[in-house]
C-alpha cells in the first residue's frame, strides 16, 4: 500500500423519493389520518394496535378489525433529540415518545414538541398536532404536543379520496474514498500520465488498479507507468440512444489493453467509422486540452486509430 497523502474522496448524494403503495389496511389508516382520525386494529389477543399491524405480532393471523382511538394519549417513555436530524418531524429540539393513545392497547412512536426536556415526563398527556398538508400517511401527524399547550385550529377539510400511496423520500450523503491504487491512477491522470500497479505475486499489471490483486488477494504496491496507446481487445457498436448519452449513436465502446498492461479498460474509439473498428486494432489516447484536466478518466476524450498494423491475436488472447 502506498502511504502518503490521504486518498481522494468526494461526497455522493444517494437519493430517491420512494412511492409506497399501502395495501388495504394501511390505506384505511392513512385515509382516516387525512380526515384527522386515528385508527388501530384489534389483535388476536384483543388489544388494539396503533398504528395498525397487518398481521398479529404473536399469532401472525391477518388482522382487519379497525377501531377508532382518541387523538390524545399518555407518554409511556421518552428521550430527547437535542440536535434534530434531516427528515425528522421537527426542526428544533424535541422529545421522542412512545405514546399510548386513549383506547389503544399498544404505544406508538412519534415526536413531542415540548420545547425543553424539563417539560417532558413519563405520564404526561399529549395530543396530535395535525399537518397542514394531509395525505401522506404517518406524516399527517406533524407531531404531538402537551395537552396544556394552546391548541391551533385544526386545519379543515376531509379527504377527497382514499389515500393508497405515500411518498417517502430517502436522501443520504456518503463520502466516497478511492482505494490507494485508484488514488495513484487518478492523480496520475491529472498530470497526463497513466499509472497502473503490479501484483507482487502474479506480476500482472492492473490499470486502473483497485489497489488489490483480485486473483491473489494481496495489495498491489508497485506503480507502473504505461504508454497512452494500446490494442482493442473487444468492442461493441452502440446503436441505442439512452438518457445522458454524450455522443450520437452509432459509436464504438471498446476494451483497450494498454501496452504493458494485463487488464483492458472500457473507453470510446472515435476517429473512424464504427464498421472499421476491429479486434486487434491499434489505438492511442486523444487527451482533452490540458486546462480541462482533473483527477478523472475524462481527461482522455477518446481513443483514435493509430494506423499501425493490427496486433496479432496471440498478443491479447489472454486478456479477453
Amino acid at each position: 500500500m502506498t502511504v502518503g497523502q490521504a486518498p481522494l474522496s468526494a461526497p455522493l448524494e444517494v437519493g430517491f423519493d420512494y412511492t409506497r403503495s399501502l395495501g388495504p389496511l394501511l390505506s384505511e389508516f392513512a385515509t382516516a389520518l387525512a380526515g384527522r382520525r386515528l385508527l388501530g386494529v384489534r389483535g388476536s389477543d384483543g388489544r388494539v394496535h396503533v398504528p395498525p399491524v397487518e398481521y398479529d405480532p404473536v399469532t401472525a393471523a391477518p388482522l382487519s378489525e379497525l377501531v377508532e382511538v382518541a387523538t390524545a394519549g399518555t407518554v409511556r417513555t421518552w428521550s430527547w433529540q437535542a440536535q434534530p436530524l434531516a427528515g425528522q418531524p421537527l426542526p428544533h429540539p424535541f422529545g421522542w415518545a412512545l405514546i399510548h393513545l386513549d383506547g389503544a392497547g399498544t404505544a406508538m412512536l412519534h415526536a413531542v414538541d415540548a420545547g425543553t426536556p424539563d417539560r417532558m415526563r413519563t405520564g404526561m398527556r399529549v395530543r396530535v398536532r395535525w399537518s397542514d398538508t394531509p395525505g401522506n400517511g404517518i406524516r399527517d401527524i406533524a407531531c404531538f404536543e402537551p395537552l396544556d399547550a394552546p391548541q391551533a385550529a385544526v386545519p379543515a377539510g376531509p379527504p377527497a379520496e382514499p389515500v393508497t400511496m405515500i411518498t417517502a423520500p430517502v436522501h443520504l450523503t456518503v463520502l466516497h474514498t478511492v482505494s490507494p491504487g485508484e488514488d495513484v491512477h487518478l492523480r496520475g491522470l491529472a498530470e497526463g500520465r497513466l499509472i497502473g500497479q503490479r501484483c507482487p505475486v502474479c506480476h500482472k499489471v492492473y490499470v486502473p488498479s483497485r489497489g488489490a490483486c483480485p486473483t491473489c488477494g494481496v495489495f498491489t504496491g508497485e506503480n507502473v507507468e504505461l504508454p497512452d496507446r494500446g490494442t482493442v481487445t473487444t468492442f461493441c457498436v452502440v446503436n441505442v440512444p439512452f438518457l445522458g448519452q454524450r455522443i450520437t449513436p452509432p459509436y464504438v465502446a471498446a476494451y483497450i489493453l494498454l501496452d504493458g498492461a494485463d487488464i483492458a479498460f472500457l473507453h470510446l474509439v472515435l476517429g473512424c467509422r464504427p464498421d472499421e473498428v476491429r479486434m486487434g486494432m491499434r489505438v492511442a489516447a486523444v487527451w482533452r486540452p490540458r486546462a480541462e484536466w482533473g483527477t478523472t478518466t475524462r481527461n482522455i476524450d477518446h481513443f483514435r486509430p493509430t494506423g499501425e498494423p493490427d496486433a496479432p491475436y496471440e498478443s491479447y488472447a489472454n486478456h479477453l
Partner: protein
C-alpha cells in the same frame, strides 16, 4: 452430526474513520493474512467463504462483491453473503459445514460506518411505512428503552455508567479497541446528556472495522489448534417489527435463543450491547450472575464496527476458550432496532 469449532479469529483495529474504501478490501487483506497465518491454513484450504456487510452503509450497490478482491478468488471459491452482521454469516457457514459439503469456512464482516451519517442510515432498518418516514435515530430509540428500565427500577444511570467504566477499563487490554482507559463513574455521570437519558458513554462509538473467524469440523479442528472452541449450541430468534408490540425491558428472543442453545454453565459472556443499558438488560434476561465475566474485550461499547461487531463477539468468546481463560463461553449478536433480533452461540473447550 459432525462437531464444528472456531479455530481462529482476527480483527482490524476499530477506528473512528479509516481512509479506506467502503468495500472493505484495505481492512480485510491484513485480517485475512493474520487469521490464515495463525491457523496455518492457506486460501485453498478454506472450503467456504461467507460475509456480512451492508450496501446501505457502503452507499453503493453490491459492495460485498468488490470485497472479494481481498480474498483473491482464483481458483474460483465457494462464497456467500448476508446483508446482516457477520455473526449471521457465521451461522450460514456453520450450517454449510454441518451438511458435510465443506470442512472449513472463513467468515468475515466489515463496515465503514463513518462513510455516511450512521444515525440516519440506521433509521432505514425501521418499518418503511409507519416509522422510517419519521427518521427516528438509533440513539433516540435506545433512550426510550433505557428510560423504561430506569423508571421500572431495573437499572439506574449509575449502573449504566458503571458498565461503560468497566468496559473501557477492560478494553485497555484489547489492541483493537477504539475507546479504552480508566474513567470513574462519577466523572461519567457529570457529563451532559447526548439524548436524555443517554450520555455519550452509554452509546457505542461510531466505528470502522472488520473481523474474521475460521471454522473447522471435527478432524480438521484438532489439527489446526490445540484447544478448539467447540460450538455446542447456535440459535437465533427475532421479534416483531412493531416497536409498540414488543416487551422492551427484556429480550424474549435472546432468552429463547439461549434456551435452545443450551446456554448454561457459562464462565465468560461476550454480549453485543451497543448501549450500556442493553448489556444490563441482556444480563438480566439471560440470568448471568456475578460469577460470569462480561465482555472482557470491552465489548461493542469500546468499538462497534457495523456488521462486524457481532461476529467479533463470537471471535472474542472463542479466543477466551482457545486460550483456556474460559471453559465455556456465550457469544451474543444483535441486529435491528432495540435488540429486535438476537443470536446466541455457546462455545466449549472440552472435547466433543
Amino acid at each position: 452430526m459432525r462437531e464444528i469449532a472456531v479455530v481462529g479469529f482476527a480483527q482490524a483495529r476499530n477506528v473512528r474513520r479509516t481512509p479506506a474504501t467502503t468495500n472493505g478490501v484495505e481492512m480485510l487483506i491484513p485480517v485475512f493474512e493474520e487469521v490464515l497465518a495463525a491457523t496455518g491454513l492457506s486460501k485453498q484450504d478454506i472450503g467456504f467463504w461467507c460475509s456480512g456487510s451492508s450496501d446501505y452503509l457502503a452507499g453503493r450497490a453490491f459492495s460485498f462483491v468488490s470485497a472479494v478482491d481481498a480474498i483473491g478468488a482464483f481458483p474460483p471459491i465457494i462464497e456467500s453473503h448476508v446483508e446482516m452482521d457477520g455473526a449471521w454469516a457465521l451461522y450460514e457457514a456453520w450450517v454449510k459445514i454441518r451438511t458435510g459439503e465443506v470442512d472449513t469456512a472463513l467468515v468475515y464482516g466489515f463496515g465503514k460506518s463513518s462513510a455516511g451519517e450512521l444515525r440516519r442510515v440506521l433509521a432505514l432498518q425501521l418499518d418503511p411505512y409507519l416509522v422510517a418516514p419519521l427518521w427516528p435515530d438509533p440513539v433516540a430509540l435506545a433512550g426510550l428503552q433505557a428510560r423504561l428500565g430506569i423508571e421500572a427500577g431495573l437499572w439506574t444511570e449509575r449502573d449504566m455508567a458503571a458498565v461503560a467504566a468497566r468496559s473501557r477499563a477492560d478494553a485497555t487490554a484489547n489492541p483493537a479497541a477504539q475507546l479504552a482507559g480508566p474513567v470513574s463513574v462519577d466523572e461519567l455521570l457529570a457529563r451532559p446528556y447526548l439524548a436524555d437519558p443517554l450520555r455519550a458513554h452509554d452509546c457505542a462509538p461510531i466505528s470502522d472495522g472488520a473481523a474474521a473467524v475460521v471454522l473447522a469440523a471435527t478432524g480438521r479442528a484438532q489439527d489446526i489448534t490445540e484447544r478448539p472452541a467447540w460450538i455446542t449450541g447456535f440459535e437465533h430468534r427475532i421479534e416483531s417489527a412493531a416497536l409498540g408490540a414488543r416487551e422492551l425491558t427484556t429480550s424474549p428472543s435472546t432468552v429463547a435463543a439461549a434456551k435452545a442453545a443450551g446456554a448454561d454453565g457459562i464462565d465468560v459472556a461476550e454480549l453485543h450491547a451497543p448501549f450500556t443499558h442493553q448489556e444490563i438488560l441482556l444480563r438480566q434476561a439471560l440470568g448471568l450472575g456475578e460469577e460470569v465475566r462480561i465482555n472482557p474485550s470491552g465489548g461493542a461499547l469500546c468499538g462497534n464496527p457495523m456488521f462486524a461487531a457481532g461476529l467479533a463477539r463470537i471471535g472474542e468468546a472463542a479466543r477466551a476458550v482457545m486460550a483456556g481463560t474460559a471453559g465455556r463461553a456465550l457469544a451474543h449478536a444483535t441486529s435491528g432496532p432495540l435488540l429486535q433480533q438476537n443470536l446466541v452461540c455457546v462455545l466449549d473447550g472440552g472435547q466433543p
